[in-house]
């Protein structure tokens, strides 16, 4: 696939060329949306919205990583979807203490108060990971999805979320720490090779 030629044709309004690009990237884009939103239907809708938006604004693509540009588009589509979801009452991402301050410890992410039904849903490792991802603050989640799930390097992630490299490093480190804490609540699901060490005091 000659990506540059397809992008050029798509910029000239060629929908067939853009559809070839979609076929190449739709799995990545969908998975990104799925991991950010944690819901298959919403992820599919956001993916479609992202591709429509990408085609309409492809003339603004000025070179560089096309994947990063697409990821930025789908991230924006996910943020829009989450803003729509916000109108519905949801569990706050950062629970407050009795004094009204944000809790410092991310231990709550393990969610020990999960109901048996919720436990059953999180029985598989993937569900456990998604559960922990869902509970990350959005800016952490986006960075960890781009870097660790999509395998993008720091500069690409920086281009996607448009924050400095130092901020990317910081967010990624904190996101990994929070995920580690959360995943300790699902220790029995983790494969032996990935079993997290108990007692390390991060």
């Amino acid at each position: 696939m000659d990506e540059q030629a397809l992008i050029h044709d798509a910029q000239a309004g060629n929908l067939d060329a853009f559809n070839t690009l979609i076929l190449h990237y739709q799995d990545s884009v969908y998975n990104t949306a799925l991991r950010i939103l944690g819901d298959e239907d919403l992820a599919a809708d956001s993916t479609q919205e992202a591709f429509i938006s990408a085609f309409k604004s492809i003339s603004s693509f000025r070179g560089g990583s096309f994947k990063a540009w697409l990821m930025r588009t789908v991230t924006n589509a996910c943020y829009d979807e989450l803003r729509r979801q916000k109108r519905r009452p949801t569990t706050p991402l950062e629970p407050d203490t009795e004094e009204g301050d944000e809790m410092d410890s991310p231990r709550w992410l393990a969610d020990p108060s999960m109901t048996p039904d919720q436990k059953a849903e999180a029985d598989e490792l993937e569900h456990a990971l998604q559960h922990c991802l869902n509970n990350l603050p959005l800016e952490f989640k986006t960075v960890v999805v781009m870097a660790d799930i999509q395998g993008m390097d720091y500069s690409e992630v920086s281009a996607v979320v448009r924050v400095p490299l130092g901020t990317i490093k910081s967010r990624l480190a904190r996101a990994r720490l929070r995920l580690r804490e959360c995943l300790q609540g699902f220790a029995e699901l983790l494969p032996a090779s990935f079993r997290l060490e108990e007692g390390s005091n991060a």
Binding site: G13, L15, F18, N19, I22, L23, Q26, D27, S28, V29, Y30, N31, L34, R35, E40, A44, T47, Q48, F51, I52, F55, K56, L125, E126, L129, V144, A147, D148, I149, G151, Y154, K169, S170, L172, A173, R174, R176, L177, L179, R180, L183, L190, S193, F194, R195, L196, E197, G199, S200, N201, A202
Partner: protein, 235 residues
Amino acid sequence: MNRRDLELLSSYLDGQLKPSDSARLESRLSSDPNLRAVLEDLRATRGLLRQLPMRKAPRDFRLTPKMVRKNPPLPPAYPAFRFVTALATLLLFFSVGLNFLVPQMAQQRNFGYGGGGAPEIFSAQAPAATEASATEAPAAEAPAEEAAPELAPLPTATLSIQDNAREAVTPLAKEGVTGEAGGLDQYDVQNAPAGQEETPPVPPRWQILLAGIALLSAFIMVLMRRISANRWRSK
């Protein structure tokens, strides 16, 4: 574990540290089991995330023209017809406006100059002068004199017209003197309009032509759009 160490470990894991920072951290790791444990935890967490299965897209996300509301591609000649339609319409409106305004302005000017006696006198005199010059002037001078009212390039021609006009006016003035006062005005009012049908600045046949061009061009545009839309839909 402080935030700085956490960031160092995370960046070290991804090979994003400078060699000097990396060497320093490795030295600390060799002597600090807690630091090593956190590094391994972070590595395991990253490994788990990388192990997440890549889901296949649940449907085909390719776009249809309807999804992006893309208009059918129009023929290259379309903009030319659009320009012609716009220009013809503009000229048509301009000519209609001109034909409407010019007579009114002339009328206002006539009222302003007290019934427009002077211009009508001149207009009444001009044909007489031309006739006089045509009959009295030598044959060699005739072309110059005929051209004079339009071009007025030569002082001699202008002079001859003025002289001839004076001669032509004289009998009229004499009639005015012998007749009742204001006879000249009376002559003008009675004769000038009869001899001068008011012609609009833009002839009607030009307006009809402009309207025809605008309509035809617009019709061709509509036709082009329909043909393009049909071809686009059948794709």
